[in-house]
Amino acid sequence: MLDLIREFSPGLAILLTNPQFAFIQLLNSISQGMNLFIIAAGLSLIFGVLKVINFAHGVFYMFGAYVVHTVFMDWGAPFWVGAIASALALGVIAAIIERTLFRQIYEAEHLMQLLLTFAIVLIMGDLAKVIWGTEQYSVSYPASLKGATDLGITFYPSYRLMLCIIGPLILIALYWFAERTRWGRMTKAATQDREMLAALGINVPLIYTSVFILGSALAGFGGALAAPFSSPVPGMDATLIVECFVIVIVGGLGSLWGTFVGALLYGLVFNFGSVIYPNGQDVFAYLLLLVVLLIRPWGLYGKPEAGGH
Amino acid sequence: MSALLSIKNLWKDFGGFVATRDVTFDLEEGERHAIIGPNGAGKTTFFNLITGHMHPSKGSVEFRGKDITGIPPHKVVKLGIARSFQRINIFPRMSVFENVQVALMSREGQSLKMFKLCFDLHVAETNQLLDTVGLLTEAEETAGELAYGKQKQLELAIALAENPDVLLLDEPTAGMSPTETGDAIKLVDRITKERGLTLLFTEHDMGVVFGISDRISVLHHGEIIASGLPDDVRNDPEVRRIYLGEDADAAA
């Protein structure tokens, strides 16, 4: 029986006979999923409030990876300083873009908004080439996380383990922000009724700007965290943004928890899929999307679109 | 069973908020029936439930004795129920002519015909309808650029193009000046008489309501609290208390 399985899929055979290997794949799934969650959470957050799908989110992620390379590798600052710098840099870039460009199009059709963000992708992609050239950079692991951690049953790279922890922490932080702070409650209200909030004398544009900054900073931070295994290089944003789209659609647009679940599912499907049937690597993620949409057109935790009435 | 449109125990609630509460209502063939009620009484919801724009939570809608509860709008309209909307609801970037022509093509089941050129389709009938509502001279203008009152007239033309038996008008004079209102009412009056249409409409202007309706129903908090001839409704103590009480002058 096992020989038959091995014939069909050597990966599956190892998976079945080697629990340690299965456990490692589980950790792979979680760490990848969590890294994607951090990025996709920003996308989802922005959509939730601004109702704009930001194609440029991928480019923000790429900038995050580049910035950490510059600060950490070139300037020799600690990795975490680089990661924070990435988040801050993207926050600033986001603020500028929101104030100058996005402002113009909140009232426009969604098509226009979508395409505007795509124009930003094109221009910022080239800007990155001007600043950093076209070389592919390597970013080292931070010294403290360079090795592997003994988990009892197996060793696992410390850096990846850190991702498994930091993802849920960010989820909790975002929840706390949304539910427990005044800013969070106002943001929530802005998603429901913009006019009402404006009538109450609350500065809605400021809320929009701040949400856009936070969401983009998450992209930058996520990009920085990904840099050691997704080396900064032109074009790295093109596939990532689609992965993020898949995650937020699976989870349901605008739902933070949905994004979390979507990212985890993505990690699981990608990693176990790749082991069982290496040739299907990318196909699995899209099949996941298909299956989810067949059952729930608005994603696992999404609400039917409000546009209709 | 003789009623053209028969509504039985209709409910609609939006997550706890009841917009339509156990409404039972008959619309007789050929009558002109007004629905009145204060803002938020559930008039538009009531229309939406009839025309399939919303699904009722409970109850049924029958048209000519056939259950049409929950069937989609594009099928409802084919049965002979046309309506106008409270907010302007036309095809703004198309010409006035095209607005009406599209409705005619749909009525004739031509919407999916890919190789039937549209230039010569229903030209005469479209022009005749535009003439009826007084828009013939504006036929080639872009609909979205018409004056408000004219857009309302266009809506009526679109509704008529569907060749309905029943016409539902949701506040046909909303937002109009007094002269425009007068003209619009005359138009509705003339058309329904000429075509022998059954009319169900909601309206704020009590002058209009009592001027042209055969019967009136009063909707309050989603419930029909009175229904009958204009004079009966006018004298209904319940209606006077909760509705006309604050608006007695207009009713008089």
Partner: protein, 315 residues
């Protein structure tokens, strides 16, 4: 205007047609190549505009049908040695059929959801093309494509392409000026009202998507034979975005707009690439300019200029 093509419009079409047909007389291989490719890309853009301009939805995954048409035809011609006609028909049918299935899902949604779903589906097609190496030759691209001897010559292929494209554009013109086409515009303008004049709006949007898929397939079939190869990039979402920008640049509210947009953008890309690698920036700036200043594209701009300088009355 409800009248069919005006006399001047007809004359203009005829002149352009004749000019195109005379291209090979200039004895420039380069020019023949350029016009051939522009014709193909123009059909691709026109097909996309059925979804965008006519049904009012944004597809970010139109490249998928282009790629399917191209790949299926290329594989049947080359690997299985089919004759041109059945192979090309199969390519176009495959594209149409896929579009029909995808449209079934996508037309349940509108707006952003629609756009993202079309994108996701196209990436599924991309992933399959990429990974099905035994059939498509994966990342290396499917080369060479066996082109039947009859059209295996620059000039012959040019005329073949021109005939196919002109016929396709004519059919598209009829469709967009049919009862269906006009009703579709009504759906774009006001879905709710369209539904309540009795138009089955979802069915309309579905049909528009399928037609668009069909003609994208035709363009793909020609593209594969023109390049003697199909490449995975042709299914990638950025390809969809590029054709979307072409359509938008020309103007989505006019039938011939996307054709003009395709020609202009195509030439611009070639010229830019000779001088700089920063074509994306040029594209991005163009896109920004359209979005912020000229939402109805070059055709709209032309009309505006015309109105300003007095030629107002003509169509």
């Amino acid at each position: 205007m409800t009248s069919p093509l005006s006399k001047t419009g007809m004359a203009a079409c005829l002149i352009i047609l004749i000019l195109c047909a005379l291209t090979p007389l200039l004895q420039s291989d380069y020019l023949i190549d350029v016009v051939t490719e522009i014709l193909i890309v123009a059909l691709f853009a026109l097909s996309l505009n059925i979804i965008i301009g006519y049904s009012g939805n944004v597809s970010f995954g139109h490249a998928a049908y282009f790629a399917i048409g191209g790949y299926v035809n290329a594989i049947l011609l080359t690997t299985y040695g089919w004759p041109l006609l059945p192979s090309a028909v199969a390519g176009v049918l495959a594209a149409t059929l896929t579009a029909a299935i995808v449209a079934y899902f996508c037309t349940r949604l509108t707006d952003i959801y629609f756009a993202m779903l079309t994108l996701a589906f196209s990436m599924l097609v991309w992933a399959i093309v990429f990974k099905w190496r035994s059939l498509t030759n994966g990342d290396d691209g499917f080369t060479p494509v066996h082109v039947p001897a009859m059209i295996d010559d620059r000039t012959a292929f040019f005329y073949f392409t021109m005939i196919v494209i002109v016929v396709s554009i004519a059919v598209l013109w009829v469709i967009t000026h049919s009862a269906f086409g006009r009703s579709l515009v009504a759906v774009r303008e006001n879905v709710g009202r369209a539904g309540f004049v009795g138009i089955h709006t979802r069915r309309m949007r579905w049909q528009a998507f399928v037609i668009a898929g069909f003609f994208a397939g035709v363009a793909g079939v020609l593209f594969g034979m023109y390049h003697r190869g199909m490449y995975v990039e042709s299914a990638f979402w950025t390809q969809s975005a590029q054709v979307l920008i072409m359509t938008l640049l020309g103007g989505i509210y006019s039938f011939f707009g996307p054709l003009i947009g395709a020609a202009v953008l195509f030439m611009l890309e070639r010229l830019t690439n000779e001088y700089t690698e920063y074509w994306p920036t040029v594209l991005g700036v163009i896109l920004l300019a359209i979005l912020l200043f000229q939402p109805d594209g070059l055709v709209g701009l032309g009309k505006r200029i015309k109105n300003k300088f007095g030629g107002g009355g003509s169509p």
